[in-house]
């Protein structure tokens, strides 16, 4: 599911950079920002399905990274540590902007649903990648916050169960349980939208 690219390899083998950043090396910090910026942005984007909020969380995450990297205890725990900062900011923004975000999501979900309905009535139609992305984002939006966080971390960010448990400060079994029910819910949503693996292949 999660194909490792050259960037992923660089991200997973940056122990020396993390050590230098811990010691206050700004160049190392900037390199780490460049390596992880896209991942944190995409994590936040899939969480909110909104560019501005995703950018806001990403910037806050990396400001915190600059200020607190020296507090990181173990280099191996860098990934979980960074996602923990991002995840906390996501929860914070959700709490602060709960009403407006609810309104926005509903609005956006309606637009995406309209596209999905069009496909439902014409299942043989081949559609653009961007349309499919919209439908999958809509499916993610139907998950509750807890399940959505776990699904994004596991399916898109490639975190291990242990790392997700560390980020969310939960037992591993709770993480697995949330993931199972999250996937079950997504399956129902996709079946209702008539989205199958055959459509992907076409």
């Amino acid at each position: 599911m999660y194909a490792e690219t050259m960037l992923d390899i660089a991200m997973n083998h940056s122990d020396s950079l993390i050590n230098q950043a811990k010691n206050g090396d700004n160049r190392a910090k900037n390199k780490l920002v460049n390596l992880w910026y896209k991942r944190i942005y995409n994590f936040a984007y899939k969480y909110f399905s909104d560019h501005d909020e995703a950018m806001d969380v990403t910037q806050k995450t990396f400001i915190a990274f600059h200020e607190k990297i020296w507090q990181l205890k173990e280099v191996a725990g860098f990934k979980a540590w960074l996602y923990k900062i991002a995840s906390n900011h996501c929860h914070e923004v959700t709490r602060q902007q709960d009403r407006s975000h609810q309104h926005f999501s509903t609005q956006k979900a309606e637009d995406v649903h309209r596209e999905a309905t069009a496909i439902f009535f014409n299942p043989d139609r081949k559609y653009q990648r961007s349309e499919l992305n919209g439908i999958l984002q809509e499916a993610l939006n139907t998950l509750n916050e807890e399940q959505r966080t776990v699904v994004i971390m596991k399916e898109y960010e490639g975190l291990k169960f242990k790392e997700i448990a560390e980020v969310l400060e939960l037992p591993e079994n709770t993480v697995k349980s949330r993931l199972y029910y999250g996937l079950t819910h997504l399956k129902k949503v996709l079946v209702a939208r008539n989205i199958t693996t055959e459509i992907l292949q076409s």
């Binding site: 700004n26 160049r27 942005y41 499919l132 992305n133 999958l136 697995k176 997504l186 399956k187 992907l200």
Partner: protein, 279 residues
């Protein structure tokens, strides 16, 4: 079967995180429970579909590594806090000044700050002096700026040279590796070509030899047939010629006989006439 895996076990199964024994147990359970097997297959398909969601591209912030080493985010915040503190102090002073009859005025002679009634203050510093002080301050500031610029330039040059040298070295190494690789590739290609050529020539000659042999054989067979045919034709020819000769001889003999008969007849007639005359 009493074994029923819970959702945690099924999640581990779905992500391939079970031991072989446990995995076999779950598979056995799924064989006997088609509904649950379909559910797990559906979850696997869901993962596959969800993985089609592409990442969005985003441009990371600019590389700030050339900035002075002490300028980071926390320093900016500290400076902002200091400015806020100064602003708060000035505000406090103004409030205190209001209650203590603080006076602030500006006229041709300059800026005057004081409490209670404004008194005449002797003009201490002339305009020229202020100008020269300002010039000196500006010059000093300019010198510091220039110095900073020179330092930054030197650092950039050093970085650039180091980068250039590294890149040149890398390029040379890669070029050398590439050339070695190309030479090896060329040798291999030549060898391969030679081998293929040898096989081709060998095949050609063996094929050509066989064809030639067949051709000569056919030619010999054809020649024998030709000779036989020629012999038959010659025989027929000579036979016909002999027949013709015989026919011609017979005709000649017949003609000769006729001529002899005619001569004999003539001779007989003459002799008869002579005899008659004599009588």
């Amino acid at each position: 079967m009493s074994y029923i895996p819970d959702e945690i076990t099924l999640t581990n199964y779905l992500y391939g995180e079970l031991s072989e024994d446990e995995s076999n147990k779950v598979e056995e359970y799924l064989k006997q429970n088609p509904a649950m097997a379909a559910e797990i297959k559906g979850l696997s398909s869901t993962r596959e579909i969800m993985s089609a969601y592409d990442d969005k591209e985003v441009i990371p912030p600019l590389d700030l590594s050339n900035k002075p080493k002490n300028s980071n985010v926390s320093d900016v915040r500290k400076r902002m806090s200091r400015i806020m503190a100064i602003a708060a102090s000035v505000s406090l002073l103004l409030v205190v000044g209001y209650f203590t009859d603080f006076k602030l005025s500006y006229n041709d002679q300059g800026l005057f700050i004081g409490f209670k009634k404004q008194t005449e203050i002797p003009q201490g510093v002339t305009l020229d002096q202020i100008e020269s002080l300002l010039d000196a301050a500006l010059d000093k500031n300019l010198a510091v700026q220039n110095q900073n610029l020179v330092e930054v330039k030197t650092e950039m040059q050093s970085d650039y040279q180091s980068l250039f040298m590294n890149q040149e070295k890398t390029f040379e190494t890669k070029l050398e590796q590439r050339m070695n690789f190309d030479k090896q590739e060329l040798d291999r290609y030549t060898k391969d070509l030679q081998e293929k050529n040898a096989i081709l020539v060998n095949d050609y000659f063996s094929t050509a030899g066989l064809e030639q042999q067949t051709y000569v054989k056919n030619l010999l067979i054809d020649f024998t047939g030709y000779l036989e045919e020629q012999r038959v034709q010659d025989r027929d020819f000579y036979l016909n010629r002999l027949i013709d000769l015989k026919l011609s001889s017979d005709l000649k003999q017949q003609e000769t006989e006729q001529m002899l008969t005619s001569i004999i007849k003539s001779v007989n007639n003459i002799s008869t006439e002579e005899t008659t005359q004599n009588f």
